[in-house]
Symmetry: D2
Subunit: 347 residues, 4 copies
Amino acid sequence: MAETKLKIGIVGGSGYTGGELLRVLLQHPNAEIVAVTSRQYKGKNVAKVHPNLRGATNIKFIEPQDLPKVDVLFTGLPHGTVMDQVEHFTSQAERVLDLSSDFRLKSPEDYVTWYKHEHTKQEFLKDFVYGMPELHREEIKDAKWVAVPGCTATSAILPLKPLVDNFKISTVIVDAKVGSSAGGASYNLSTHHPERSGVVRSFKPTGHRHTAEMIQELGLPTEAINFSPHAVELIRGILATCHVFIEGDYDEKDVWQAYLGAYKDEPFIRMIKERGGIYRFPEPKLVAGTNLCDIGFEKDERTGRLVVMAAIDNLMKGAAGQAVQCFNVMHGLEETTGLNSLGFHPY
Amino acid sequence: MAETKLKIGIVGGSGYTGGELLRVLLQHPNAEIVAVTSRQYKGKNVAKVHPNLRGATNIKFIEPQDLPKVDVLFTGLPHGTVMDQVEHFTSQAERVLDLSSDFRLKSPEDYVTWYKHEHTKQEFLKDFVYGMPELHREEIKDAKWVAVPGCTATSAILPLKPLVDNFKISTVIVDAKVGSSAGGASYNLSTHHPERSGVVRSFKPTGHRHTAEMIQELGLPTEAINFSPHAVELIRGILATCHVFIEGDYDEKDVWQAYLGAYKDEPFIRMIKERGGIYRFPEPKLVAGTNLCDIGFEKDERTGRLVVMAAIDNLMKGAAGQAVQCFNVMHGLEETTGLNSLGFHPY
Amino acid sequence: MAETKLKIGIVGGSGYTGGELLRVLLQHPNAEIVAVTSRQYKGKNVAKVHPNLRGATNIKFIEPQDLPKVDVLFTGLPHGTVMDQVEHFTSQAERVLDLSSDFRLKSPEDYVTWYKHEHTKQEFLKDFVYGMPELHREEIKDAKWVAVPGCTATSAILPLKPLVDNFKISTVIVDAKVGSSAGGASYNLSTHHPERSGVVRSFKPTGHRHTAEMIQELGLPTEAINFSPHAVELIRGILATCHVFIEGDYDEKDVWQAYLGAYKDEPFIRMIKERGGIYRFPEPKLVAGTNLCDIGFEKDERTGRLVVMAAIDNLMKGAAGQAVQCFNVMHGLEETTGLNSLGFHPY
Amino acid sequence: MAETKLKIGIVGGSGYTGGELLRVLLQHPNAEIVAVTSRQYKGKNVAKVHPNLRGATNIKFIEPQDLPKVDVLFTGLPHGTVMDQVEHFTSQAERVLDLSSDFRLKSPEDYVTWYKHEHTKQEFLKDFVYGMPELHREEIKDAKWVAVPGCTATSAILPLKPLVDNFKISTVIVDAKVGSSAGGASYNLSTHHPERSGVVRSFKPTGHRHTAEMIQELGLPTEAINFSPHAVELIRGILATCHVFIEGDYDEKDVWQAYLGAYKDEPFIRMIKERGGIYRFPEPKLVAGTNLCDIGFEKDERTGRLVVMAAIDNLMKGAAGQAVQCFNVMHGLEETTGLNSLGFHPY
């Protein structure tokens, strides 16, 4: 299938996720980007907004209403706005990958609980597959529509799922440290450089919406999952430190077994646990620009707690990269196509 | 007592803690620094090592063996080295404040457990008071010798103690985010700028030595306390996010009561919990350069977890500032003397 | 005069300069802040906007029209808006220190050239003194109205003036590296953290307005002065690298003489030129939070060029600190009053 | 030639330049890395030192004496050490690309002047080609040995050469802002995070060794070239601000013509000069990870000065990337092979 070029549209192409989709897909051998929408920047070259694309493309933003028929549509609009146009989007494309949160949760009640509004297109929910290949690869292969997971949800679900599947877990605390690009390209006082640079800021100690995805995908009792994200000085990247309380005895070998059983053939998951050196556990810097999820762990022999660390690039495995991974799965392409460039060091 | 000047010696004055002691004490109305030791820099002006002191002093480093008799001695040597010389130090000064970890733990066995070596001067342990005025003010008033707490221990004990005293706590996870100055002035690969800048690094997921102080001071069962520090991009500061599991019902008002009861008259503790705005919880940037400990909290109504956030400057409330606070208490001075300058914004 | 408290008003107190004025004046023994205006935040405690002031004051913002009579008024409004209200401001206060650019230039034509608008209150220009005590101390002593210099102008004029006075200078290039707080508290895309963090950005290679102040104060031919500021990753601080071309022979001793002659008794100027070590030249980090201007230099023996480096904190010596220095001079106070706290290391 | 795989050796593979060579060449279709040396890390997987390579290779460091015969050898040792072994290196490989400074200067006297030592292998100097394809492509095609330019030299020579060729230039001041990776992987006090983070440090105001390369390649009188590098908060990247004084009249169109004439077909040079927006001039962030050199300019109409800004990634176009570009040229490969991945935004 190496020679097929699928026609791609990107709705909402001026944000950071849209920019990453452009970067990745422009270098993808099976993708031909034919339309990128942005109300604000219509008529402008995409490189005007995404300066890293200068010289690499002449694509110009078009208005959403001018979106042509495409093979595959990536929608990168703010949450709550994709559902309003989902009939249109699904009619314009064979396949749709939605990077908003509008179709991630299976239960419409969860939208009321976590997003504080009714879901207006509940009939679509059952046909959107949660786009995390490590958990739903077979469904994604057959899916027409994929809901790409949230970034912090990805950073928590990937390290926790094999544990949930292999141990009895009483409580999990996910304490995440998040880069500023996770907040998107819109600016406000909290993103103003003198206010944001150098912070360690607990911006949502409880009630973060991505918690709903963790609850849904992990299948633990809701009260077992606790999530607190923090803004730290970083542009790209998330480190999720998961403090896991396991019932009964276990040792580190059992944990290794759980991860190997789940992930030994996964192309984007690396287990990072070395005896020494400064890189012995996962770090966001080491996966920046890649679709990798690095996972490491250490058992606290004194208390029995298991500390699991997972690092991703929020714009890649946490958004555009995972979307393209799903795109590859959906089209029978090698799963790493367009996603195999190495990370940087130092970065 | 405003006119008395106490003669001060600082042993180990070339590190960051020594530098902060110099900065604070040079501006302290009741302190006269008469000796500062450093083997490596003997004969050099202290400003050669601490360039912020240029023009402010002509004190030169002397060798440790030339230490004269003083009223008060601050010892800022690496752990394990103060105990060897404790007879000498206590004979040279009326009062000693030790910023190392050598006399913080009451039980000699704890040194074996946490520091992996015998304590060679166990007879001194009972007379060193743990130098946290909020918990031990009366003892400090009468103390000749004070063991100044560790920085991350301070960031955890201060927010947790009122909770322990007012609630039944089953488990606590302290997930701390720490600036690079906490590692001291010695350099190695992990502190090399290209390797350290922008990291979110779990450098000691379990077994950090400061945990021992938390266990001792909080009085919870050892297995109830879990601690994981992370290096983040920051020079000064710690944010300790404490995930607290409380048995039985409680609401945020109860938590408020616990903190007010404990801290309403404390000069260096501020409760930070606002309804809106970007500064509604504690942040290290907002206490940098001060001796403050900012504490905030939010209850996770879904799971019952209490999230408590505490921010300190690791070199101030986490080291030199707390030492001077103890010094003030020991000498009947106003507790804020020399410690009341305001923080910066933006910083 | 230690006991006199002058009644102070601050117009435009919600910006970073206003915040620094508050921080410094709240700790100033001869100042009593009686009014701080902000349209946007009226009725709110100043600490809501300047969180470093929490617990230090209960002053609330008032609307500009409610400004009472005061002894001294500091005006921190955007350029172009002070001139409109200058009669009002000068009628409400014995003395006015304006931190905007509205009265810095003596020639009304310069406003047209550099600010692209007419000066509407030209009759006031002659009575505003340029508020740089190192150059205009005697005039400031007698002044009712002071125009506080621009931040990058300060960083260039202070290191260059003694050279202009002692050498024949053909050309100067001032290449400045500037922190983000110099742009103020208003946010836009260029200050959005993911866009601003880590930049080295030439945001105004030619034509920066502060050049006009350099030309005026240095008295060199206009074409001899070249200025290019750069945004770098830093919140507070400016390093001005001045590449100076001197006609005729000279050596470093001559340069030393020029600086000593001009500045040996200046309380806020430090000459920084050491033989070795990592702090041998000025750095913004080492003056952050202070009113200092550090100056160093090195002659390029190969080409004859003199490289002069000057470091200031843009919010202090570049704005609020210099304003308070002028305030001290105007009122016969010790010039360092309220401005003598030491810098930090590390910072 | 797409299927040929050249056997590659890397001497000195544990530094940052060696790591970048590995990253780029592991992804290069015509390269097969067969040997990487490091005394310190012999026997260890290269990913132990370069954690970005985890999972991508199993190559282990070998000792330098075990270096096999290869087609192409890249030498990344400290300056002064390659010349000692140059016979050995040139005997082991068909072609050698040296990333040290040992063979960049044509005149042996220049080594005495700038490096303060005799050149011990002067007979090799004439056969090493200065490896900047934009200036020496034809020579590189035929070269056996290439001396890869210095990073700051590259950032200055590329923007200045077309100006030198088209205008009469009286004086140039290159004021460079440099990331910490340019200092290499060795640590010391100046690279210790608390001391290096957030600095704006003039570490070598005059006399930087890369000046010699600028003088040699530009062909201007030595006293016309002035260079001052500054360390700023950044890991990868250089912005060279070149203040250029041109004799006689000129306008911006003439400058455009000069650049277009020289560089319009250059694959790695982009002219960046937009009317508006925040990315209107070159910035290091926008070329990080790429082999690009972005160049922009603005004429100061008031003084006649031309301000030219050039941005590169010091490890790529400033070292490993340029080396691979030369490698491509030497072997008749498409010049962008292995070097065409897009930059990141945000970064």
